[in-house]
Amino acid sequence: MRLLSIVAACILPAQILTAQVAPRVDHSEIADRVLTVFDRQFGAFRDESAALADTAVTYCDGGAREPVLDAFDATWLAWAPLDAYQFGPIEQQAAALTVNFFPDKKNFTGRALRQHLKRPEAEQGDAAIVAGSSAALQGLPAIERLLFEDLPTCPSLVGVTGNLARIAQDLHDGWFASEGWAELVRAAGPENPVYLSNTEFTKQIYTALGFSIQRLREHRLGRPLGTYQRAFPKRAEAWRSGLTNQIMIAQLDGMIEVINLGFAGAVFNPSRAWVVKVIKDTQTRVDAIGAPLLDAVEDPQMRVRIEGIMSKLEYLRLQMDEDIGPGLGVETGFSAGDGD
């Protein structure tokens, strides 16, 4: 009988164990730690964008192309973890579309570039002109086309990268300058205009991780995969530069950072370690596709691998819902306070 009890205890789902010995969740401490992660992530995007703008100026002055490409890769990979944080300064500044107009079902980027390239050269290279133009002109996909399509790269590259560097600076300032969003987060409470309690920020972050998984599964993988009869390789993000697979890995790295360093000890460790392992397994599988997504979606064997990653992401979502959400005390429920 006693043996049976021990066996039963051993096969208890992780979330039940979590409920029994869950650490006390201090949402104020979670907020501080997540903000530290954000400071680093938004800081990296700001720095890489600034470097990209600098290399663009040099390149358009007759310098080498390679440094621009390296800086471009680094900038997009720095953006990848931020792509799912569609609240706070990103929302206030409409940066979700300006930085990465994806998916772009109606070729708004191509159209915006065509219009821009008809402008006088001085305007093409003017970041302020770019800032006043279509969102689709302002971001990474537009820069990618300037670098990898048969288009006149300069001086538009200077204008678009200069504007992107400004956006990246504004985003970091929006979070961390005086009276920035981080101050709102830290001042959570009944009088706060956004966060009535610290728990609300934790819930926002948790929801953003869910959106991150959805974006990977549906947009980054599902759209190019299409059906067995018809794949859509050019729906893959960043297919021109070949960054597609690396972006997904960088995005998953960002999730690991939030979970390990942001949620940290607030989530019972076996659950946290398990979810992080699932994310790392997903990264390994992305690495093992065997080709950029652009090619992989048209190869029957690689398609199976992609479908396997999509299943893994669905599994990750379930694990988050079962282990991380309840552990943090932020399971989603419905309320008219959700807004509409």
């Binding site: 569609q86 979700a96 959805q214 306070g337």
Partner: protein, 359 residues
């Protein structure tokens, strides 16, 4: 009486706003319809009486937002919450689903709709999200709710639409660009423009009033008509959160939008939910489900106090007088400045609007 017959009889009251049906009283018909969610996250359309009885609960395929009642026939339309893909037409006499409207490819519903004055057409607020543009879908109620066309709504993000007693419609274009690929993220806050748009019975725009200038980010979302036929609106501030702004306005056709300030507007956390005016006194009530507060204004637009009510969501004229408000745990009846809590069993979370059956 078995469950089905019970359901049929109680639902029979749903569409009786202008056409009392035989058996209405026998059926113990509800006074209000609202969407509601249970703790297990199941989603329902609920009929409530002014005394807090749940007369019916119909499962719907996702979170509901608001409902529209047919002006002559016993039919109600329950709309999914943004970015909703469905609306369910319920035959109130039979208690059955008559039709289900599915949004077209490239469109989703915003959660509101209105019938033309003769009931032959249903207008639905929709997002043409890849354009992006706001449209009004037009459905022929006499032909199985066939989609027969669409017209521009006059702005991005059309939300609530009301039929005007003089014919035609008024639409609140909230101004916020969203895309289902991006969840519920707001994509254009720095450039957003919000307005009230008036249309004739055929859906042609006849007038617009825009909230421009430094309040261009004060999204006009929910609207009601006052005793004089003017439009009152509940706003949602999308600008700098540390800024304090009015969240209510009134509009008389041909004049400028007039903002109504309130000393407790800050309690709404920048989010005014539903709005209604009292048939007897002209009092205006504006709910704040985020701030769990309700603001009141006198008929002339001056402030008339506020109350704290957990997740105060819907508000509507009550057939028996006064204003009824949905909140955690049930309803509140506000009459002549006195509030009475009316508990409703079932641990419901109301979502978002209260629609009166018969006023």
């Amino acid at each position: 009486m078995d469950r089905r017959n019970f359901f049929r009889s109680v639902v029979a009251g749903l569409g009786t706003a202008a056409l009392p049906l035989p058996g209405w009283a026998d059926a113990g018909a509800p006074d209000f319809v609202t969407a509601g969610n249970k703790p297990d996250n199941s989603t329902w359309l609920v009929g409530l009486t002014a005394t807090g009885d749940v007369r019916f609960q119909i499962p719907i395929p996702g979170r509901g937002h608001a409902a529209a009642l047919h002006p002559t026939g016993p039919q109600a339309v329950a709309f999914a919450r943004r970015p909703g893909r469905f609306a369910v037409i319920i035959d109130c006499a039979e208690g059955t689903e008559v039709a289900r409207l599915n949004s077209l490819d490239g469109r989703h519903f915003y959660g509101h709709g209105a019938f033309s004055s003769d009931g032959s057409l249903l207008f639905t607020t929709e997002n043409d999200f890849d354009a992006p543009a706001g449209v009004l879908g037009i459905w022929d109620t006499t032909d199985g709710y066939k989609r027969i066309g669409e017209v521009p709504s006059g702005g991005i993000g059309p939300h609530e639409i009301l039929a005007l007693p003089t014919g035609g419609f008024v639409v609140a274009n909230g101004g916020i660009q969203t895309h289902p690929d991006m969840g519920r993220a707001k994509l254009n806050l720095p450039q957003m423009r919000t307005n009230l748009t008036y249309l004739d019975a055929a859906g042609k725009i006849t007038a617009q009033a825009e909230l421009a200038g430094e309040l261009h980010q004060n999204s006009i979302r929910h609207i009601a008509l006052d005793q004089d036929g003017d439009v009152v609106a509940a706003l949602q501030w999308q600008g700098l959160p540390t800024k304090n702004v009015p969240l209510v306005l009134r509009h008389t056709r041909g004049e400028d939008l007039k903002l109504l300030t309130h000393p407790d507007e800050r309690q709404l956390k920048h989010y005014a939910g539903s709005i209604a005016t009292c048939a007897e006194t002209g009092e205006i009530a504006v709910t704040g489900p985020k701030g769990s507060h309700v603001l009141f204004f006198n008929k002339d637009g001056t402030p008339n106090g506020s109350s704290q009510h957990g997740t105060a969501a819907g508000v509507a004229q009550s057939r028996t007088g006064g204003l009824m408000i949905t909140r955690d745990g049930g309803l509140v009846l506000r009459m002549n400045g006195t509030e009475t809590l009316i508990p409703v069993g079932g641990d419901w979370a109301w979502d978002n609007h209260l629609v009166p059956i018969s006023v």
